[in-house]
Amino acid sequence: MQQPFLSLTNISKAYGGVKALEDVSLTVYPGEIHCLVGENGSGKSTLIKIIAGVVQPDSGRIVINGKERQSLRPMDAIAEGIEVIYQDFSLFPNLSVAENIALSHELAQRKRWVNWREVRAIATEAMRKVNVSLDLDALVGDVPVADKQLVAICRALVQNARLIIMDEATTALTEREIRALFDVINNVKRGGVAVLFVSHKLDEVLAIADKALIIRNGRVVVDADARELDRSKMTYYMTGRDIEESMFEWRGDPEAPPLLEVRHLTSRGNFSDVSFELRSGEILGITGLLGSGRTELALALFGVQPADSGEIRIAGKPVSIRSIQDAIANGIGYVPEDRLTEGLFLERSIANNLVARTLDNLRSKGPLLDADRVKTQITEWVRRLSIKTPNPELPAKSLSGGNQQRVVLAKWLASKPRVLILNGPTVGVDVGSKSELHEIIKRLAGEGLGVIIISDDIPELMQTCNRILLMRRGRIVEQFERKDLTEADLTHHLVAV
């Protein structure tokens, strides 16, 4: 048996008394694709940072290439050929594509001067390896997200890497780009490079992994050959329980007029001729790949990027939605996909977050807020959505991802919307809280709220929606009733070109 490239033994790390990792061991051989799987907060990130030398473990052994490393700094890790592609890419938006690719190489060579011709040559060579072609002079801040991801991959490959760590590398890529990325990964694998692939998308893991390490609450649960695992086993290991969810059935009145009607809605360059209707108590899924126009449609309904033409009717009445204020006035709410940058006020208290949407309704006479009603609203929603916090005066950042999403949801529900658009309601939420959120959404629909879920998470759509629309290139191409559909069908339709 050949020598492992990297071997971690009994690694532990605590942050202020909270154990992030406990006795974690991991061995990676050259030319092996090792997947690291775990829910949010399971310790994946900490483990990556330890391997990259960004964080020092409290105890445990790190052996790289047969040499034990007492303290590993980022430069040491890079010198050993460990390259990390971070979830946020860690690129420099103000520098060119070429420089972003070549910079770390130049640094590793301990260069003092910059030879711009060499920078271009290095970048060109890296792009050839990955088989992509990007504008070398474009600023990284100006290129699309998928290209940013490719730049990050090129940068990792420049370095004669021995181990490439990809932290949630596929979040910004379309299905086609993911397949291309997997080709690249298999390519470098054949060159003897090891890959540590971190993901929470189980399908991806099953598609590419040789081995899988599943961790939960900072401990290793399974370290096994990927062929021995399947979807349900992995879910079980990740969460420590089997999750059974019930299907959602619409029990509304089919004769009643629709709550929301969209007729021939068009936004040039984004989507065109979109028509559908939503009835009270329905959960309507809108799915499609990245770039299909699903998010733009949501933003148009919410007034962020108003549509150019077409008609929107609420309870039969035509309405004009040109701004967020218009949408709100018509009872439309929107829970954005990225709750950290669009949904939450992380530094402010949970209480502040809960009333952010309804401040104008909570006034007593005059400009002052009615303290009693503010308090009542906060208490009510903490209770109704079971937000787990010892004190709503604590900052929102003290909450877990699932509870944060409940806060964003509650903020909207407090304004009693008639239609609630949820864009990726459980992105970045761990499997356990996910099903709890699904139950909350179903309950709300049961109370008469019209819900639109925008998502490409197929199991999620199957579990929550009674109807699903499929978008492709800005148009609605198909409509399914949930009860006539299987997961495999929907997946097939989604990725079919």
């Binding site: 204020q325 949407r357 807020l369 208490t379 209770r383």
Partner: protein, 343 residues
């Protein structure tokens, strides 16, 4: 412990102090400085006479710091406050000269002064509105927008006055010379009213909370249906209004307004706000912090003045001490944050 319990417990203030470490440290610094100075100069420092004198010294900087704090809460800054104060003061002084003859009867004087004050406040609101429009509608970075208007307002002032001081015919000096109950200087009273009013606005109104929310996450504020441009404009208008109040105090103290009066107050007011714990990136800061910070700085200034009276240039030592205090508090904050991070 239920949510209801936590929200209704009467010890809100003590909890706040415990949670807000910076406020506690400021309070301790304030007390320490006060006690030290009292021990060093027992005959002159802890006296009514000295309180009267100290109380008349800091209100302008204090109000300017509150004005800048309001902009800072939203993640912006207002560099133009002093130039607004000077220009509003000049306009008010010109009005007084124009409408109140030397031998005017008291009614005319009273109406004229009322008019002058209204003109000062209205112009402050107008200049604040221009700032707000540049920031919220045009989309300029606040630091650049207000740097530009600072120069612009000062420039307009120079053009109107040809660079000369404009005298207010001693009509407003009563503001600078009068003491309520023979103890509280009028400017201090104005500062207290402003501090209390702004505190109510920030803590008890939707507008105030919106300022914090915008400063914490502007995009999330927009997505929550908060009218961000309108709220930002409101913030800069309020800041301009406070600057105009300072203009009236300036006139009361100096009997004149001039384009280049007190330019160093801009950075000093920022220093007070930062020392008070206002986050320059937005989203947090309290009036209580401003009050404590300005008191600490005033105690230092006066105390040092008394200690160094014999030394020439003692007034300059104050500048040194202010800067040093700011850095010391920031470094202490750094260490206490780190300690909290570890345990």
């Amino acid at each position: 412990m239920t949510v209801q319990d936590v929200l209704t417990r009467p010890t809100q203030w003590t909890r706040l102090l415990i949670r807000d470490g910076n406020l506690v440290r400021l309070f301790i610094a304030c007390v320490l400085i006060f006690v030290t100075m009292s021990l060093l100069r027992p005959a002159v420092f802890p006296t009514i006479e000295n309180f009267r004198s100290m109380g008349s010294q800091f209100p302008e900087i204090g109000i300017l710091a509150i004005a800048i704090m309001i902009a800072m809460l939203t993640g912006g800054i207002d560099l133009s406050v002093v130039s607004i104060a000077n220009l509003s003061g000049v306009l008010a002084a010109l009005f007084i000269r124009a409408v109140i003859p030397a031998d005017a009867p008291p009614v005319v004087v009273a109406l004229g002064l009322l008019g002058a004050i209204v003109i000062a406040l209205a112009s402050g609101v107008l200049f604040g509105l221009i700032n707000g429009l540049l920031v919220a509608r045009v989309g300029l970075t606040p630091i650049l927008a207000t740097l530009g208007t600072m120069t612009l307002y000062t420039g307009i002032n120079v053009v109107i006055t040809r660079g000369n001081a404009v005298f207010a015919e001693n009509r407003l000096v009563f503001i600078g010379n009068t003491y309520l109950f023979d103890l509280i200087p009028i400017p201090l009273l104005i500062f207290a009213i402003v501090a209390a009013a702004v505190s109510v606005i920030l803590n008890k109104t939707g507008f105030g909370l919106k300022l914090y929310l915008i400063g914490s996450n502007e995009k999330a504020a927009r997505f929550s249906g908060i009218d961000v441009p309108k709220t930002l404009i409101g913030a800069y208008v309020l800041s301009g209004l406070l600057a105009a109040i300072v203009a009236i105090i300036f006139l009361g103290r100096n009997n004149s307004a001039k384009w280049d009066f007190a330019p160093s107050y801009v950075l000093q007011a920022i220093l007070v706000a930062v020392l008070a714990g206002v986050n320059p990136a937005g989203g947090s800061g309290r009036i209580a912090g401003i009050v404590l910070a300005i008191l600490a700085l005033q105690f230092i200034s006066t105390g040092l003045n008394m200690l160094l009276l014999a030394v020439s240039g003692g007034q300059f030592f104050r500048e040194f001490a202010w800067g040093a205090l700011l850095l010391i508090i920031m470094v202490i904050n750094y260490y206490s944050e780190r300690r909290r991070g570890r345990t």
